[in-house]
């Protein structure tokens, strides 16, 4: 087990390098970031050249990447165009987004798995059809429509929530945005769990467990659920990174100043340093989450052994 973890940690290095290089190249494809800095007019050439030099944009791309990575390892993520160090942006953005992600993941786990179990146990019954239709609506309506609609109904019409999230972004304020963010994944989790449960419901060990007279809830939680969760855990694990980086739309609608907001601003302003910096951290989060998922496999399914 220990050796496996070490090996996986070593494997993270190439992924880290690959992903950061990929995003670095992608952001650079977008072109000259200086052009957007001067409003509705062209920057005067002298200032533009000076700015390029200052941000190291006059160097060849590979050199920019190496310099950047070199700095990252010393904890320097560069400076945004508004003169603020990227690490400072991260310090304000990540706590907010982590809270948002926790809310979203909780929704996925609690609601998604519960609905999945219920529908999996009652395939074809009205409750199954009802949930199927509900997940369908969730999937078919794009997040921005769901978000705008909830904001309008809950925030303006019924005054249940504030339509936007304050700077403090407490857990309470993040419930609705978290639900919106989780919505599509929630549908995935429900359906994955349902499929898994339905499949395993008829397996021998479940039949045995029922036959030896175990109470129903024990059969479900100990035997059925545990074996059915592998695909679900894979999905949720991979989703953590996606949720943190994918909150661009949700954070925009609810005016949350988290990672999605910074990334969106970074892209709009072609701020290489901000975008690459945030994605670098997201890549790390993603890698660690994946490692945890793989370790969880072994816990859920004793037949899987890591050496």
């Amino acid at each position: 087990m220990g050796r496996y973890v070490v090996r996986r940690l070593l494997q993270m290095i190439p992924v880290f390098v690959g992903a950061t290089l990929l995003i670095f190249l992608m952001v650079n494809v977008m072109g000259d970031p200086i052009a957007g800095l001067c409003g509705e007019r062209a920057c005067d050439p002298a200032t533009a050249a000076q700015l390029k030099k200052e941000f190291g944009l006059d160097k060849p791309l590979w050199q920019q990447y190496l310099t950047y990575m070199g700095n990252v390892f010393t904890g320097d993520f560069g400076t945004a165009f508004n003169g603020q160090p990227v690490t400072e942006l991260m310090a304000t953005a990540f706590p907010v987004t982590i809270r948002l992600t926790i809310v979203a993941i909780l929704f996925e786990i609690v609601i998604g798995i519960t609905l999945g179990v219920v529908t999996g146990m009652r395939r074809g019954r009205p409750v199954d059809t009802g949930v199927l239709l509900a997940t369908l609506v969730v999937i078919s309506v794009p997040t921005f429509v769901t978000g705008l609609l909830l904001q309008l109904l809950l925030g303006v019409q019924w005054h249940w929530i504030q339509p936007s999230v304050s700077q403090a972004a407490t857990f309470g304020e993040l419930i609705v945005p978290g639900l919106v963010l989780a919505a599509v994944s929630l549908a995935y989790v429900t359906r994955l769990t349902r499929t898994s449960i339905a499949e395993n419901k008829r397996s021998d060990y479940v039949r045995t467990a029922v036959a030896k007279g175990l109470p129903r809830h024990r059969v479900i939680t100990r035997h059925l659920l545990r074996n059915s969760l592998i695909p679900v855990v894979t999905f949720i694990g991979a989703d953590i990174g996606a949720l943190m980086g994918g909150a661009i739309v949700t954070e925009r609608i609810f005016n949350i100043h988290g990672v999605g907001y910074q990334l969106y601003q970074g892209i709009l302003r072609q701020n290489t340093q901000t975008v690459v910096g945030f994605v670098t951290v997201l890549v790390l989060v993603f890698l660690v989450a994946n490692l945890l998922v793989d370790l969880l496999y072994a816990v859920l399914d004793p037949r899987i052994r890591y050496a």
């Binding site: 995003i23 309008l152 894979t234 037949r303």
Partner: protein, 326 residues
């Protein structure tokens, strides 16, 4: 569809117990190789495979029939939209902006005074093309790479999984904003290409996970012990068992790709005019949600029905493929 790849297996005499899924089936296959095998053992030994079994089941499943019909209908109007809609989807008159239902425009007009009915009908082609092509690309690429990684394990797994991680680590919407903002072409292919490029890791992980699970099964161990080749074990024993989660996720993904296209339009990097798609219309109508909800309702409704049809189809296919549910 994979039916073709299993063509040779039609000659195999199954035992009738759930196709080729368990140890008995493996035995039957080995038996089949001996001359004068079970070919003449009786009337019930008709040549059958997993896929032909599945097809037989599907033909009797009302869910499959209904969703199939919806999909056929979508394909038909995608090919010949003028069958049910007259006029051009690009013909808009601002004087009629946001007007409700009326003769000639059963769904009313949108914020630009375009006929919502005509646009919804014409939007099917683009949206279905994006959804289907992106899903096919993602499913093929993802399950191939994920399946190989899960099956071979070891160095292969490490290598492929790391590549998966690299692409998975890039948030999709972010990647779309970055990559598509530089695209100048106004065809659907850059959008589809982007979805495949950043979408395959999702399927890949699922496929890998279920292949790892399936690999542990007794019948796979048995087939291995009996000396079956890698490709035979993978395609014949593992794939049918591992394909269910892939189909489920892929059918849901199909819907999300169609709505992802809408999100990209919302962020200004999606399909460009004069394309007509549900995504373009949904994003254009969403700011008017308070004044002209009908312009949002109809394309969203069309999208929902399409997604429903594909999910039901996927569900039915999955059920038919799974002997344990018979």
């Amino acid at each position: 569809m994979p039916e073709q790849s299993y063509e040779p297996d039609r000659a195999i005499a199954g035992t009738g117990a759930g196709g080729a899924m368990d140890l008995a089936a493996s035995e039957a296959e080995t038996l089949e190789r001996t001359p004068g095998g079970p070919q003449g053992t009786g009337p019930q030994a008709k040549p059958r495979s997993l896929w032909s079994d599945a097809w037989r089941d599907l033909r009797r499943n009302p869910v499959f029939l209904v969703s199939g019909l919806v999909i056929v209908f979508l394909v038909v109007i995608s090919l010949w939209p003028s069958l049910i809609a007259s006029g051009s989807p690009l013909q808009c008159d601002l004087a009629k902006a946001q007007e409700g239902s009326q003769p000639g425009a059963p769904f009313g007009y949108d914020g630009q005074g375009c006929n919502v009915y005509t646009r919804t009908v014409y939007g099917a082609r683009t949206s279905v093309t994006v959804g289907v092509c992106a899903t096919l690309g993602v499913a093929l690429l993802g399950s191939a790479l994920g399946g190989l990684a899960g099956f071979f394990g070891g160095a292969w797994d490490s290598f492929l999984s790391r590549i998966t991680d690299v692409f998975f680590a890039i948030p999709v919407v972010l990647g779309g904003l970055v990559l598509l903002s530089v695209v100048t072409s106004n065809t659907v292919w850059p959008v589809i290409g982007f979805m495949v490029l950043l979408g395959w890791p999702q399927i890949s992980r699922i496929a890998r996970g279920s292949v790892i699970t399936a690999k542990q099964n007794d019948y796979v161990q048995a087939a291995r012990a009996l000396g079956a080749s890698h490709s035979r074990i993978l395609l014949r024993h593992i794939a049918p068992n591992a394909v269910a989660p892939v189909i489920v996720v892929a059918t849901i993904a199909l819907g999300t790709y169609i709505s992802l296209e809408a999100t990209l339009s919302y962020l200004g990097v999606g399909l460009k005019p004069p394309n007509v798609s549900w995504g373009i219309d949904i994003s254009a109508a969403s700011p008017y949600i308070r004044n002209a909800p009908h312009a949002l309702l109809w394309p969203s409704g069309a999208l929902a029905v399409t997604v429903l049809a594909f999910i039901m189809l996927g569900d039915a296919v999955r059920d038919a493929l799974d002997p344990k549910l018979r």
